[in-house]
């Protein structure tokens, strides 16, 4: 089974994250960059499926040159090869243009049975790319999976919601997005780190994919971020003394906040 797993370099959630002043895109210099945690789980799921069913895992990344760190981490964990689309024209791409580029890039990989993605990235949090990509590729989409099983060419996933567990099934090829609860990703071993140095990374530009540079990036985006402000710091709470009328005062407060 040949699997493509989508990986993304994101600012470390433990470092300060902000948008640039000029075009409100991610200020990549202000934060440490890491492979998105949810993508580590996507890679882990791909590796477990490969270990059970054979085949090859290809890590696919759209991002600037330094995103090769995310690609390398996936290779160190055990992915066999990688495709990295890097092009200055991609700066500021929204979810739709990103998905278009990903769809073209998936097309460069032979015999893909399954595409695995994280259900949302920890930076943009749009959570829309997997669904758009599935649509563009014409693949059935099984999103927010907590568990994935493959038997023959049938793929089954479990999706936990507040109301219960949904069991979804499709025929391969398909696209799955995984949730953060799906597995515990492995740490790369030293053998994996050494082996990763020899694994092929194909670097492609927008032109290599046959796309018009004007149709991607900020110029091709359907949406634009106008403003971003940090969350205001939490203010001290309001103290209510209970002199027998505490319940009323709480109710009045909640009414004042339009909560009841």
């Amino acid at each position: 089974m040949n699997i493509v797993v989508l990986v993304k370099l994101v600012p470390d959630t433990y470092s300060e994250r902000k948008l640039s002043d000029t075009d409100h895109t991610l200020d990549r210099d202000s934060a440490d960059a890491v492979l998105d945690e949810i993508n580590e789980r996507a890679v882990e799921e791909a590796l477990q499926l490969k270990e059970a069913h054979g085949g090859e895992v290809t890590a696919l990344c759209v991002g600037p040159d330094r995103a090769v760190d995310a690609v390398r981490k996936a290779l160190q964990m055990g992915a066999d090869k990688a495709v990295h689309v890097s092009d200055a024209a991609l700066h500021g791409s929204d979810v739709i243009t990103t998905a278009k580029v990903l769809a073209k890039a998936v097309g460069t990989i032979d015999g893909v049975d399954l595409v695995i993605a994280g259900n949302e990235a920890s930076d943009g949090r749009a959570g829309a790319v997997p669904a758009i990509l599935a649509e563009l590729l014409g693949l059935p989409q099984l999103t927010h999976a907590n568990k994935v099983t493959v038997e023959g060419d049938t793929i089954t996933v479990e999706r936990a919601t507040d109301d219960g567990v949904l069991h979804l099934q499709a025929t391969l090829p398909a696209l799955v997005s995984v949730s953060e609860k799906i597995n515990e990703p492995r740490y790369p071993s030293f053998k994996g780190i050494m082996a990763a140095k020899k694994k092929p990374i194909t670097t492609l530009t927008v032109a290599d994919l046959g796309l018009d540079p004007a149709g991607v990036g900020l110029s091709g985006a359907w949406t634009a971020v106008l403003e971003a402000a940090p969350k205001p710091p939490r203010t001290a709470g309001e103290r209510v003394e209970d002199n027998g009328d505490g319940g009323t005062k709480i109710a009045e407060y909640l009414v004042g906040q339009k909560l009841i």
Partner: protein, 383 residues
């Protein structure tokens, strides 16, 4: 390792172990420490990521790395906790590596894959109740009888010797007398559970409380003759070599502890306020931390240098002794200062620096006391 700049793959390993230590060890190790409980789950995870096989060739289930890779992993673990670091060090440096170096092909194939996966731990039985620094004074005996070694004696302070996953203890024993009248010392592999081999209850220790340490006794304990590790009569030379390497590993643990003290203090003094300022703004605190960083840094250079010499196949006895000496003293000094900076909190076991303080002292004792290191350095200078 090129000069003192870490090659890309070593840096990737260092970073991976750093992430592991922060994500998997730091949040839980305090509880294990307090309960004096062995952290099987953490050890299993370390096994799955290949740490126990770092310097062992791939054909025996290892990672095909080298001893320096092991040292980097030890340093990163020890920045967070020394109990898990010493568990790794003892199993790899004192058990797996001698087995790989001196063992027969059959012994290697039998033990190394499980050791490398961390599914079994190895231990090395050298020190005895009556002989620590004077390791040659050992009294445990092994006599050959009907194709079996019959072992009698006892061993003290043996790390990894009594866990549920202990595979074997290699026991240094007197196996006869040399022509010149000196003792003939050999090393014998004794599998856990062999009749006549008993493990006493765990020591109550000052530090390293989440590691496993026991006194062992052997009463007419019989193992097959083929369990001899290396040549008969070469035991002394073998463990001298094992200990020379082990000193670099202990140095790495000392550097980790010393650096862990710096990291904890830098974080704390940026938050803690006294007399209207964050205490990190006071020069008295800054100078303490600057000295701590200096000690950690110079000790790191010493162990990198010793490891580089060893990997190039050059003599490294003096360099290893120097690295062990400076790093264990750096660890002790830094733990003392870190505890001082943390004040009352530093005296509480729930704070990492409290653990560091308790864990530091043994570094000046285990695998060669500071006095033994000075003796070795002086001897290398021809004194």
């Amino acid at each position: 390792m090129r000069g003192f700049q870490l090659d890309e793959e070593y840096e990737a390993l260092r970073k991976t172990v750093e992430e592991f230590a922060h994500a998997e060890v730091a949040p839980v190790i305090g509880d294990f420490y307090e309960r004096e409980e062995f952290p099987y789950d953490i050890v299993a995870k370390m096994g799955r990521m290949g740490l126990f096989g770092l310097p062992v060739p791939e054909e025996y289930g290892g990672m095909g790395g080298d001893y320096f890779a092991l040292c980097l992993a030890l340093e990163e673990l020890a920045k967070v906790d020394s109990s898990v670091a010493i568990t790794l060090e003892a199993s790899v440096s004192l058990a797996a590596m001698p087995l790989y170096r001196f063992g027969t092909e059959e012994q290697r194939r039998h033990w190394l894959p499980a050791l490398c996966r961390g599914e079994l731990l190895g231990a090395f039985g050298l020190t005895e109740p009556g002989g620590g620094s004077d390791a040659g004074a050992l009294r445990t005996t092994a006599r050959l009888e009907d194709g079996h070694w019959v072992i009698n004696g006892s061993k003290s302070f043996i790390t990894n010797s009594g866990t549920d996953i202990t595979g074997f203890v290699t026991v240094a024993a007197i196996t006869g007398e040399q022509p010149d009248g000196r003792k003939e010392i050999s090393t014998i592999i004794v599998p856990a559970g062999t009749p006549g081999f008993s493990v006493s209850k765990k020591y109550s220790k000052v530090g390293w409380n989440a590691s496993d340490t026991h006194e062992l006794s052997f009463v007419d304990c019989r193992v097959p003759e083929a369990n001899l590790l290396g040549e008969r009569g070469r035991g002394y030379a073998q463990f001298l070599q094992t200990l020379d390497e082990g000193r670099i590993a202990i140095a790495a643990i000392g550097v980790g502890l010393a650096q862990g003290c710096v990291d904890e203090c830098v974080r704390y003094v940026g938050e803690r306020e006294a007399f209207g300022h964050r205490i990190g703004e006071y020069q008295a605190i800054q100078f303490k931390i600057a000295d701590m960083e200096t000690r950690a840094h110079t000790a790191r250079l010493a162990y990198y240098h010793a490891a580089a010499g060893m990997l190039r196949g050059e003599p490294f006895k003096k360099e290893a002794a120097i690295a062990k000496l400076v790093s264990s003293e750096a660890a002790m000094d830094n733990a003392r200062q870190a505890t001082q900076i943390f004040g009352g909190y530093g005296f509480m076991n729930e704070f990492p620096v409290g653990r560091f303080y308790r864990d530091a002292k043994i570094l000046e004792i285990g695998e060669g006391t500071s006095e033994v290191q000075r003796m070795l350095i002086a001897r290398e200078l021809g004194l």
